[in-house]
């Protein structure tokens, strides 16, 4: 069962520091493959910290591990993840003739991943 939510990509401290170590390094990959979700939303979807969740947009899908946030910090319906190759997977190439693709407030389909399915971490390159 998939739910629609709004995804915001952004910078984080750990994303910045691990970027310096190298974008192909394990830490950067780990940092950029985590998505923050409201704890109430997680409960509704039957997710706990570190559960795998699939995010899907018309152009791509990724599997991430989730991390809970209180409502006062992250309202229900909102997701946050650090910029990286995985967040980029979900971005459409149409910039509405502005040059700027949209990478914040993306409408994403959210679905828990049943165990045995895809590993998180690597983007689904065709």
């Amino acid at each position: 069962m998939a739910v629609m939510m709004t995804l915001i990509g952004g910078r984080t401290s750990k994303q910045g520091t691990s970027l310096c170590a190298g974008k192909l390094g394990a830490e950067y990959l780990q940092v950029t493959s985590t998505v923050e979700m409201n704890v109430e939303d997680m409960a509704r979807l039957g997710l706990s910290n570190d559960s795998k969740v699939r995010l899907r947009t018309p152009v791509g899908e990724v599997v991430l591990r989730c991390k809970g946030r209180e409502t006062k910090d992250l309202p229900p319906g909102l997701l946050f993840m650090a910029y990286g190759p995985l967040s980029s997977e979900l971005m459409a190439g149409d910039t509405a003739a502005s040059g700027m693709p949209i990478s914040k407030n993306l409408d994403v389909e959210v679905e828990p991943v049943v165990d045995g399915a895809a590993e998180s971490g690597e983007p689904h390159h065709g």
Binding site: T6, I8, G9, G10, R11, T12, S13, G16, T17, S18, L19, C20, A21, G22, K23, L24, V59, G60, R69, K72, D73, L74, P75, L78, F80, Y83, G84, P85, S88, E89, M91, A92, G93, D94, T95, A96, A97, S98, G99, M100, P101, I102, S103, K104, N105, G126
Partner: protein, 450 residues
């Protein structure tokens, strides 16, 4: 740690647009590492720590190790033979290198774009529409008694924006630092930046434009319906209070980030906040500044503007610079499959771009310059390992407020600088083409240079 130690004071960190030039670096010259970076924030510390000399080939051509010279030859052939190449990136390299990159694009008649197009390009577009009121960061440090952060998280992306420049910094008219200022923060969620603010406005996603426009209306004395709260999550009372504070302050600043530009509203959002600051100048002194992400993206804006008249998204195919975001910006050039070659410098579009763009990058010859191995480097036909600006390479960078600063490198690198590689490529392309390429239709197009 060995005996061969050097201390470099007044060095510059170029990780983010704060470009703090008060670093004191302790350098182990034998190991070619920075062992200590006093005054750096957590991001700066990682920047200095992680940029040592890596054992990598000087170049990779079609996946095999090569010399820089061999790479230059292949790269020059690619650019000379391409019909619609794009030169992209440039935000993490020196102005000296940026100038050569523009020269190459002009010479071959291709496109020239920088990471601005996916960062504060929309702000640049808004600026072209209405202008802006801005200031150097020292004006904010010394005079600003009201600072509003909008759509950004400096605590995690620009830590010293708070401590060195805009929140706790003590200045001439702000001798008590934090106590002399009112800090407002506007965002859709709470971040580590939120506790810094006196007033936090948690807006509903995708409603920044409405809030900004309502503020503009209130500044001009218009009435706003209380239903704005239902729309945006911010009550009319809070908006009126904010407007009152903004009008009464002595020197106000709006500092904004990607929260405004990376949304559907793009340059409308940026235009709204720039216009708000402009409107407030009827009442008091107010400035608005985009908070820039990379160490020398502002340098790229400046270099491209002075050499072409336009800040990014430039095309030279007809023999002169043309500007058109959406047509000559790189995400579009790649997503539509227009570019037939790419020269990527100090940037990693294969990590950060939409999938359609990355897929096209895999189909065209790509030349890449970077100190580190990146996704773009992995898919490039020619990949150069270059030295890191500010750490190994001297040169000029521009802080987010257009202040130009001269770098003080810490230790040498065996790898060439971006400028050196680009200069070699430019010179070889010039040889191959016999000078600048003239567009077909130019009466002198077929004439060889004497």
């Amino acid at each position: 740690m060995g005996d061969n130690i050097r201390v470099v004071p007044d060095a510059t960190c170029t990780f983010c647009g704060c470009v703090c030039d008060d670093m004191v670096l302790t350098v182990d010259l034998d190991q070619k590492r920075i062992t200590k970076s006093e005054n750096a924030c957590v991001l700066g510390k990682a920047w200095f720590k992680e940029h040592a000399i890596e054992e990598r080939p000087f170049a990779l051509v079609d996946g095999r190790e090569a010399t820089t010279e061999e790479g230059v030859e292949v790269a020059a052939q690619i650019l000379a033979n391409a019909r619609f190449p794009v030169v992209y990136g440039l935000s993490d390299t020196t102005c000296e290198a940026q100038r050569v990159a523009v020269a190459i694009a002009d010479m071959v008649g291709g496109c020239l774009d920088t990471t601005t197009s996916v960062c504060h390009g929309p702000t640049g577009i808004a600026f072209q529409g209405g202008g802006e009121s801005t200031a150097s960061l020292g004006e904010i440090k010394n005079r600003a008694d009201l600072v509003v952060f909008w759509g950004g998280n400096p605590a995690e992306a620009h830590p010293r924006l708070f401590t060195r420049y805009a929140v706790t910094a003590k200045g001439m008219y702000t001798p008590n630092g934090r106590k002399d200022r009112t800090i407002v923060l506007v965002d859709v969620r709470r971040t580590p930046s939120t506790p810094v603010a006196d007033i936090f406005l948690q807006v509903k996603p995708r409603t920044d434009f409405e809030v900004l426009w309502a503020l503009r209306a209130l500044v001009k004395g218009r009435k706003i319906d209380p239903s704005i709260e239902q729309r945006t999550g911010i009550s009319l009372a809070v908006l009126e209070d904010l407007v009152d504070r903004m009008k009464r302050c002595r020197y106000g600043a709006l500092l904004f980030g990607m929260g405004l530009t990376m949304n559907r509203g793009r340059h409308f959002n940026a235009g709204a906040i720039l216009a708000l600051a402009t409107d407030l100048n009827e009442f008091t002194h107010f400035v608005a500044k985009p908070v820039r992400g990379h160490g020398n993206v502002t340098g790229a804006d400046n270099v491209v503007s002075w050499q072409t008249g336009f800040p990014f998204g430039v095309n030279f195919s007809r023999g002169y610079p043309r500007f058109n975001p959406g047509e000559f910006t790189t995400v579009d050039l790649l997503s539509r499959g227009d570019a037939d070659a790419a020269l990527i410098i100090a940037s990693d579009p294969a990590s950060n771009f939409p999938k359609a763009a990355i897929e096209h990058l895999k189909c065209i010859p790509v030349i890449n310059l970077d100190p580190k191995l990146t996704h773009t480097g992995r898919l490039a036909r020619v990949s150069f390992t270059t030295a890191t600006y500010g750490i190994n390479v001297p040169g000029t960078v521009y802080r987010m407020d257009d202040v130009p600063i001269t770098l003080r490198p810490a230790f040498d690198s065996p790898y060439p600088s971006d400028e050196q590689v680009l200069t070699s490529i430019r010179d070889r392309v010039r040889e191959l083409l016999g000078g600048n390429r003239l567009p077909a239709g130019d009466p002198l197009a077929g004439v060889a240079v004497s």
